[in-house]
């Protein structure tokens, strides 16, 4: 039987919209590399939701030992070499390329039929919804505060110092060796936590 392909609006997941918005903002703030990454990933997710990437083979979740070994090597390299250096760039890009196939693998996001979606909403416990709403509200508030500071700081360098973004505030902290080490460790552990959570799901 002939099956109709879903329309673009039907497959536009909220997280894909988040990536598109982030990409657009990165282009606007003059960071085209960052914009390309976000937009490209959003396009890949859209293509996947439209069923165009179903032939991509799934990757097995890596073992914990492998993950920790790679993180340790990456951590040493990131800490031992200067920020904004070529080694840092290579390590971060390599980590991204290694993590992406792992994140991509797993059950693809498929929109539930309306009846099924309603049923699943009823089953969902209230604490889950409360957490989702509260954390989302907090995330949106942080983004709005950051974007507001960015816009108010646009006219001049002095204005940017009066309305600092998180990047401006964190930059001097990360230039101190201890701050650099703490950030690298937290960032890598955060990535590992996300990979492990994915595995548990």
């Amino acid at each position: 039987m002939f099956q109709r392909r879903p329309t673009l609006l039907q497959v536009l997941a909220p997280w894909t919209i988040v990536l598109l918005l982030a990409g657009g903002f990165q282009f606007f703030r003059g960071a085209p590399d960052d914009g390309i990454v976000f937009t490209l990933m959003a396009c890949l997710l859209l293509a996947d939701a439209l069923g165009l990437l179903s032939s991509i083979p799934r990757v097995r979740q890596p073992s914990r030992i492998l993950v920790y070994t790679i993180a340790a090597v990456a951590g040493v390299l990131l800490i031992a070499t200067p920020r904004h250096g070529i080694v840092s760039g290579i390590v971060v890009i390599a980590l991204g390329l290694a993590v992406l196939p792992v994140a991509w693998s797993g059950p693809p996001a498929r929109p539930l039929p309306v009846a099924k979606a309603k049923q699943s909403e009823e089953v969902r416990p209230r604490p889950l919804w409360r957490a989702a709403i509260l954390w989302s509200a907090l995330g949106v508030a942080i983004c709005l505060w950051e974007v507001t500071a960015f816009f108010f700081g646009m006219p001049s360098e002095a204005a940017a110092l009066e309305h600092p973004t998180i990047s401006i505030l964190l930059d001097p902290v990360l230039n101190v060796p201890l701050g650099h080490i703490v950030f690298v460790v937290c960032w890598l552990l955060g990535g590992i936590a996300l990979l492990r959570l994915g595995k548990r799901s």
């Binding site: 997280w15 894909t16 990933m41 059950p107 604490p127 990535g191 996300l194 548990r200």
Partner: protein, 68 residues
Amino acid sequence: MILVITVAGYCVLGGLIVVLALLSRSRPERVIPFGELIDRTIVSRSARVAIIVCWWWLGWHFLFAQTV
């Protein structure tokens, strides 16, 4: 003065993150912990990939790209 307000805003939001994290740990029957929320969220590919991309971008932005 504006600088103080801007930084205070970040501090308040950071404080709210800590409060919400502690609240969800002490009373999971009212608000499930953040880890569990992420665990349930990243079941879908779009959420998983988007969250991983955001995580990766933090490293890219603060460790390699021109931050300021």
